[in-house]
C-alpha cells in the first residue's frame, strides 16, 4: 500500500512536469496544426537558464563563483522569472524566424524547420554550455517530509504547487481573458478569425511566448527534481510530453494535463516494478493502445470529414 502511494506521488510529481511541457505542444498545435519539435529543447534551455541564472545572481551578490548559491524564496522566484523571460524571447524569435515565413507553405515544411531548430538548440547547446552534465543548484532549501509512511521532499510539494499554479493561470488566460477568447477563435478557424479583426499574428506569437515560458518553468522544476542537466536532456521528456499531448487529444488544454499525469504515474509504477528497463517505452505503448480505441485521443474532438 505504501509503495503504491509512494509511486503514485512520484508519478504525479513527474507527470506534472510532463504536463507543463505538453501544454506548450498542445497550444501551438491547436492554433497552427504544427508539431513544434523544438519545444523539448526550449525546456532544456529553461533548465540551463535556471543554472546560469542562479550562478549570476550569486555573483551579483558578491559571492564566490563556485560556492553553493544561497537559497531563498526571492532568489528562486527571480531565477524562475529570468528563465521564463529568456525562453519566452526565444519562443518569439523562433516563431518569427522559422515558422512565420512558412505560414502559407505546406505544413510539412514548418515541421522540418522545427526539426532544424531542435537540432540547432541541441548542438548549439553542446557548443555554448558544453556537452558535459551540470549539477542543477538547490535554489530552495530541501526538507524531508513524511505523511502516513510516504516519504517525500519539500521539492515534490513545490513542484506540484508551482505546476498547479501555472496550469490554473493558463486555464484562466485561455478561458477567462479577452486574449484567450482570441486564441480560441484562431484555433477554431484561422482565416475567419483574421477576418473578424483578430490580430492572428500577434495571437500566434503570444501563444509561442506562453508555451515557451511554461517550458522554462518545467525546466526549472525538472532541474530541482533530477539535478543532472545537459544539452540533450530535452529530447526524451519533450517526446514524452508530446505523447502526453496526443494522448489527451492534441489541441485540448485540460487533455494535455491529464495525459501528462497518466504518463508520469504509469512510468513511476513501471520504474518501480521488475520491468523498469522498459520505462522509456511504456509511454508509447499506452499511446498506441489508447489511439487504437480512441483515434483522436482521450478528449480530442473527432472531426467529421468534409467532402
Amino acid at each position: 500500500m505504501q509503495t503504491i502511494l509512494q509511486n503514485l506521488l512520484n508519478g504525479i510529481a513527474a507527470g506534472s512536469i510532463y504536463a507543463l511541457i505538453a501544454l506548450g505542444y498542445t497550444m501551438v498545435y491547436g492554433i497552427l496544426k504544427l508539431i513544434n519539435f523544438a519545444h523539448g529543447d526550449v525546456f532544456m534551455l529553461g533548465s540551463m537558464m535556471g543554472f546560469y541564472g542562479s550562478r549570476w545572481l550569486h555573483r551579483l551578490r558578491g559571492g564566490e563563483a563556485l560556492a553553493v548559491a544561497e537559497s531563498s524564496w526571492w532568489s528562486a522566484v527571480l531565477i524562475l522569472l529570468f528563465a521564463m523571460v529568456v525562453c519566452g524571447v526565444f519562443g518569439y524569435l523562433n516563431e518569427r524566424i522559422a515558422y512565420r515565413p512558412l505560414r502559407n507553405a505546406p505544413r510539412i515544411a514548418s515541421l522540418i524547420t522545427a526539426i532544424g531548430v531542435s537540432f540547432f538548440l541541441e548542438y548549439g547547446g553542446q557548443m555554448v554550455f558544453g556537452p558535459n552534465p551540470k549539477f542543477f543548484p538547490s535554489i530552495i532549501e530541501k526538507h524531508r517530509l513524511e505523511f502516513f509512511g510516504v516519504v517525500t521532499t519539500s521539492y515534490q510539494v513545490i513542484v506540484l504547487g508551482v505546476a498547479l499554479f501555472f496550469m490554473l493561470l493558463l486555464q484562466y488566460i485561455v478561458f477567462g481573458t479577452k486574449f484567450g477568447r482570441a486564441m480560441r477563435a484562431v484555433s477554431f478557424n484561422y482565416e475567419t478569425a483574421s477576418l473578424m479583426g483578430i490580430p492572428t499574428d500577434r495571437v500566434v506569437s503570444t501563444t509561442f511566448v506562453l508555451g515557451s515560458a511554461l517550458a522554462a518553468v518545467a525546466g526549472i522544476l525538472y532541474g530541482l527534481s533530477y539535478p543532472k542537466i545537459d544539452p540533450l536532456m530535452g529530447i526524451m521528456p519533450g517526446l514524452k510530453a508530446f505523447v502526453a499531448a496526443v494522448l489527451g487529444g492534441i489541441g485540448n488544454v485540460p487533455g494535455a494535463v491529464i495525459g501528462g499525469l497518466i504518463i508520469g504515474v504509469v512510468e513511476a509504477f513501471v520504474a518501480g516494478s521488475q520491468w523498469s528497463t522498459y520505462r522509456d517505452a511504456i509511454a508509447f505503448v499506452i499511446l498506441i493502445l489508447i489511439l487504437l480505441f480512441r483515434p483522436s485521443g482521450l478528449f480530442g474532438k473527432s472531426q467529421a470529414e468534409k467532402v
Partner: protein, 366 residues
C-alpha cells in the same frame, strides 16, 4: 529502325539495365579499391553512407511522398533489418563461412549468404511495416505519425533489453561484408522499384490516396490495403538499408536508431520534394555530405567545440525557408531540366523571330 519486341517489355529492359549496372558497379568497386590516393578511405566511407541514405530516403518517399502517409518510424524499420540480418550472419552464416578456407568458394558463399541475410532482414522489417500499417486503418495524419514514431522508440527500447544482441553495449563483430557493390546495387534496385511503382496501377492508387482519400475510396481504391502496401514496401527497403549499414559498420548499437535518425531521413525526403524520387536522391547526397563537408569549418573557426552540426541545422532551416516545396517540388530531376531546356529553346526561337521581324524591314543590302 524498329526495336525488337523483346526490348519493348519493361522488365527485359530493367533486367538488362540491372545486369549492366552490376557490371559497372563491380568495375567501379574494383577500381576504387585500387586508387592510390592517400585518405581515399574517408571519402569512400562518405560515399557508402550516401548510398545507404539514398535507399532510406527513396523508400521513405514511397510511404510519405507517394502514398502520403506520414511515417516517423523509419529508424525503427532500419533497426529491425539491421539487427535481423546481423543476427543471422553473426550467429549462423558468419561461423559457417569461417569454416571454409580463403578462396573463390568462400567468396561466393559469403556473398550469397549475405544477400540472403539482407533479404530476410528486409522481410522482417516488412512484417513490422505490415503491423504498423494496420493502425492506419483508423488513424490519420499526425496521429499516425506519432504512432510510427512511438513504434520506432519501442523497437529501440526492446533492443536495449535483448541481452543476446548486446543490449546497450551494442553488437560488435558483425561480419564486415557490406561494401560499395552491395550498397549501390540495392540503391539502384530501390530507385528502380520506386520508379516502376509510381507508374504502375499500385503507384497510381498511392497517388490517389495521397491526393484525396475520400475521392480515392469513392473511385473504388481500397485505401487501407494500399496504405499498408506502401508501408510494407517502404519498410522492406529500410530493413535492407539497415542490414547494409550494420554489415558495413560491423557494429550495431540501439542508440544508432534513435528517432533523430528518422528525422534525418524525413528531412531528406522533404528537402528533396515530397514525391520526387530524384529529389530524395539529391537531398540524401546533400544532407549526408553537408556535415562532412563542414568539417573544415572547425579548424577555420579555431574552436574546441564542433560547430558543424550547428551549421548543418542552420542550413537545413535556411534551405527549407527558401524552398518550402523542396528542392525539386513534386517533379523529377529530368523533368525540371527538360523544362529548362524547353524554355531556353523557346527563348532562342523567340529571339530568331524577333530577328526576322527586324529583318523584314527595308534593309540596306536590298
Amino acid at each position: 529502325m524498329r526495336r525488337s519486341s523483346l526490348l519493348k517489355s519493361w522488365w527485359v529492359r530493367d533486367l538488362l539495365g540491372l545486369l549492366i549496372g552490376i557490371g559497372v558497379l563491380l568495375g567501379l568497386s574494383w577500381v576504387l579499391q585500387r586508387v592510390p590516393i592517400v585518405g581515399i578511405a574517408y571519402y569512400f566511407r562518405i560515399v557508402i553512407l550516401i548510398g545507404i541514405n539514398i535507399i532510406l530516403a527513396v523508400s521513405l518517399n514511397i510511404i510519405n511522398g507517394h502514398a502520403g502517409q506520414f511515417s516517423m518510424g523509419h529508424a525503427g524499420f532500419m533497426a529491425i533489418g539491421a539487427y535481423g540480418s546481423a543476427y543471422l550472419t553473426f550467429f549462423f552464416f558468419g561461423p559457417y563461412v569461417d569454416k571454409f578456407p580463403e578462396g573463390t568458394q568462400r567468396f561466393v558463399l559469403q556473398n550469397v549468404l549475405f544477400l540472403l541475410a539482407l533479404i530476410l532482414g528486409g522481410l522482417m522489417a516488412a512484417v513490422a511495416g505490415y503491423l504498423v500499417g494496420l493502425p492506419s486503418l483508423r488513424l490519420r495524419g499526425d496521429y499516425l505519425a506519432i504512432v510510427t514514431l512511438g513504434f520506432g522508440e519501442i523497437i529501440r527500447v526492446i533492443l536495449l533489453n535483448v541481452e543476446k544482441l548486446g543490449a546497450a553495449r551494442g553488437l560488435s563483430g558483425v561480419p564486415p561484408w557490406g561494401n560499395f557493390f552491395w550498397v549501390f546495387l540495392f540503391a539502384w534496385i530501390t530507385i528502380l522499384v520506386s520508379m516502376r511503382l509510381v507508374n504502375s496501377s499500385v503507384g497510381r492508387a498511392f497517388l490517389a490516396v495521397r491526393e484525396d482519400e475520400i475521392a480515392a475510396e469513392a473511385m473504388g481504391v481500397d485505401t487501407t490495403r494500399y496504405k499498408v502496401r506502401a508501408f510494407v514496401i517502404g519498410s522492406f527497403f529500410a530493413g535492407v538499408a539497415g542490414g547494409l549499414f550494420g554489415h558495413y559498420m560491423s557494429y550495431l548499437n540501439p542508440a544508432m536508431f534513435q528517432f533523430v535518425k528518422s528525422f534525418e531521413v524525413i528531412a531528406m525526403v522533404v528537402l528533396g520534394g515530397l514525391g520526387s524520387i530524384s529529389g530524395s536522391v539529391v537531398a540524401a547526397i546533400i544532407l549526408t555530405f553537408l556535415p562532412e563537408g563542414l568539417r573544415g569549418v572547425k579548424g577555420w573557426l579555431n574552436t574546441s567545440a564542433d560547430p558543424r552540426m550547428v551549421l548543418y541545422s542552420i542550413m537545413l532551416i535556411v534551405l527549407m525557408l527558401t524552398r518550402p516545396q523542396g528542392l525539386l517540388g513534386r517533379k523529377e530531376l529530368w523533368e525540371v531540366l527538360a523544362r529548362r531546356k524547353d524554355t531556353v529553346q523557346k527563348d532562342a526561337r523567340d529571339e530568331e523571330e524577333g530577328k526576322m521581324d527586324r529583318g523584314s524591314g527595308p534593309s540596306i543590302d536590298a
